[in-house]
């Protein structure tokens, strides 16, 4: 079984107050050590420092990490929706066409924007044009509730939108109806209470769900705990295989559709 962690960050420990991208290879080495020790094969990898300071150095750090661990790291870039339209478009195109990234991660709370600001229309247009998904932090009042993310997905049906935290502990129930209703809305199970994870799975099914840990920048137990939580779901083995990796691989075009002939193992 291939395991893909659909929510990770590259960077320093945020609790140490270190948001720098100047750690050289150390952050990538630590990320690889933690992920491999946990048995994770690949990770959707987001910046940490780039969410709280200039996004571009954060994106460059992701590219350097990926170059060091190309089999493990699947980078997703970020932009500031308050940039000029031209700058947003240029950086998004650079991330996908030059750096080979897989999508974009935006954090309305840390980056301080509403999903309704004009720059987010530009982000949506570029995601649709480039054919890549966008993942949002969600679960937090006031700019990052699951319903705000779901209505962004509803307003932009050509964009694949991921709920990055499944609404966290308090708002997870709000992810269920959008996931059932909207073809372009997916959930990363990184934050709902355990019984909420089970309820989401029972209602939504495995094809829209992905394991995610928020690991990389935090204590190694972040990854092992969420793996333990995903495996504690009452679900058939085939569905757990989707949640733990296949759904994520399919989302970024690294695995075949269920009808395809290529196996996930073949691309690992």
């Amino acid at each position: 079984m291939i395991i893909v962690d659909a929510h990770t960050h590259l960077g320093n420990d945020i609790y140490a107050g270190q948001w720098s991208t100047e750690s050289g290879d150390a952050a990538a080495d630590e990320y690889a050590r933690v992920m491999r020790a946990a048995g994770v094969n690949k990770g959707f990898m987001f910046t940490m420092a780039g969410l709280v300071s200039d996004p571009q150095p954060g994106n460059d750090e992701l590219a350097r990490g990926r170059d060091r661990y190309p089999d493990l790291m699947l980078p997703w870039g970020t932009v500031d929706p308050y940039w000029t339209e031209a700058k947003i478009r240029a950086e998004m195109r650079r991330c996908i066409r030059e750096l080979g990234f897989y999508g974009f991660k935006l954090h309305p709370w840390l980056q301080g924007f509403s999903l309704t600001v004009p720059g987010m229309e530009v982000v949506a247009e570029e995601c649709a044009e480039l054919g890549v998904p966008v993942i949002f932090h969600d679960g937090t009042a006031f700019y990052a509730t699951p319903l705000q993310v779901a209505y962004f997905a509803r307003a932009h049906p050509k964009v694949t939108v991921l709920s990055g935290h499944g609404g966290l502990a308090e708002l997870w129930a709000d992810t269920i109806q959008p996931a059932k209703e909207l073809p372009n809305y997916y959930i990363v199970l990184n934050g709902p209470v355990q019984s909420g994870m089970q309820k989401i799975y029972d209602e939504v099914g495995a094809d829209k769900l992905m394991f995610g840990s928020d690991g990389g920048s935090f204590h190694p137990s972040t990854v092992t705990w969420y793996l333990r939580r995903a495996r504690a779901l009452r679900a058939p083995a085939a569905d757990l295989e989707k949640i733990l990796g296949l759904t994520a691989l399919r989302l970024v075009g690294l695995a075949p559709s269920p009808e395809g002939s290529q196996t996930a193992a073949a691309i690992s």
Partner: protein, 243 residues
């Protein structure tokens, strides 16, 4: 000795777990005792029904269960009498839920209930982590008014209030931080900036599973002394039990 500082039993809209099933889970995971409280409807409206049910479970299994009473402060004098009755009958603390019960945690409406807890020398468990009514600093405001009362901050305010926790401890050292729902990254911060003297293990059963969360806490805090504090000593001290 392992004590689960927060578990729900009964059958409610969101949570459903029988006392027998909880006991089985406790036995399977080495949990000796659990502090029970009722489920949603009984927290909100049917306080007496909930307190009777919890008292019944405690009396059936006095070596395994303790119970915290619920009383919605909107019921005024009725709530005060309900809490006094439940404590006299054998419950050992007060559980507040600012969101379900519909009041800002630091609003004066709750003072008469906390007055009872202060007079009876019992701890107060407060759900925290919800924007507006359940913000951790609202509990700090309440805790500063009652420095003689031990408050237990539910879920150590997960989701995204981790930034506030060191300041909570700085201004209200009479708050303990309960672990259910919360994450390794936040425990790393709490352990480092507040310390294990102020952490108590809770499952919020049936929301979370012992077999998933207890290994994580042991990984995070491998020192046996820290584990003893988190899983037993701190909550036992809050309950006034002998060392």
């Amino acid at each position: 000795m392992i004590i689960d500082a927060h578990a729900h039993v009964g059958h409610g809209r969101f949570k459903s777990l029988s006392a027998d099933d909880l006991l089985r889970q406790m036995d399977e995971n080495g949990v000796d005792r659990a502090i029970l409280c009722p489920v949603e409807e009984q927290i909100v409206a049917f306080n007496h029904e909930g307190n009777l049910f919890i008292l019944d479970q405690v009396r059936r299994h006095p070596q395994r269960f303790l119970g915290f009473a619920v009383a919605n402060p909107w019921f005024g004098e009725i709530a005060v009498r309900e809490l006094e009755w439940a404590l006299a009958e054998g419950l050992t603390g007060l559980k507040l839920h600012a969101v379900y019960q519909g009041f800002p945690m630091n609003d004066a409406i709750v003072y008469p209930l906390v007055d009872v807890a202060a007079r009876q020398h019992v701890p107060v468990y407060a759900h925290c982590g919800s924007a507006h009514f359940g913000e951790p600093l609202r509990l700090v405001e309440l805790a500063r008014r009652y420095p003689e009362v031990t408050f237990i901050m539910g879920h150590s305010s997960f989701s995204d209030f981790w930034n506030d926790l060191p300041r909570c401890h700085q201004y209200a050292p009479n708050i303990l931080f309960e672990t259910s729902r919360n994450t390794p990254g936040n425990f790393q911060q709490i352990g480092k900036e507040i310390g294990t003297d102020f952490m108590v293990f809770g499952s919020n059963a049936p929301e979370h599973y012992y077999q998933v969360d207890m290994p994580m806490l042991r990984e995070m805090f491998p020192d046996p002394t820290d584990q003893e504090k988190i899983f037993h000593r701190n909550i036992a001290h809050a309950l006034g039990e002998p060392e």
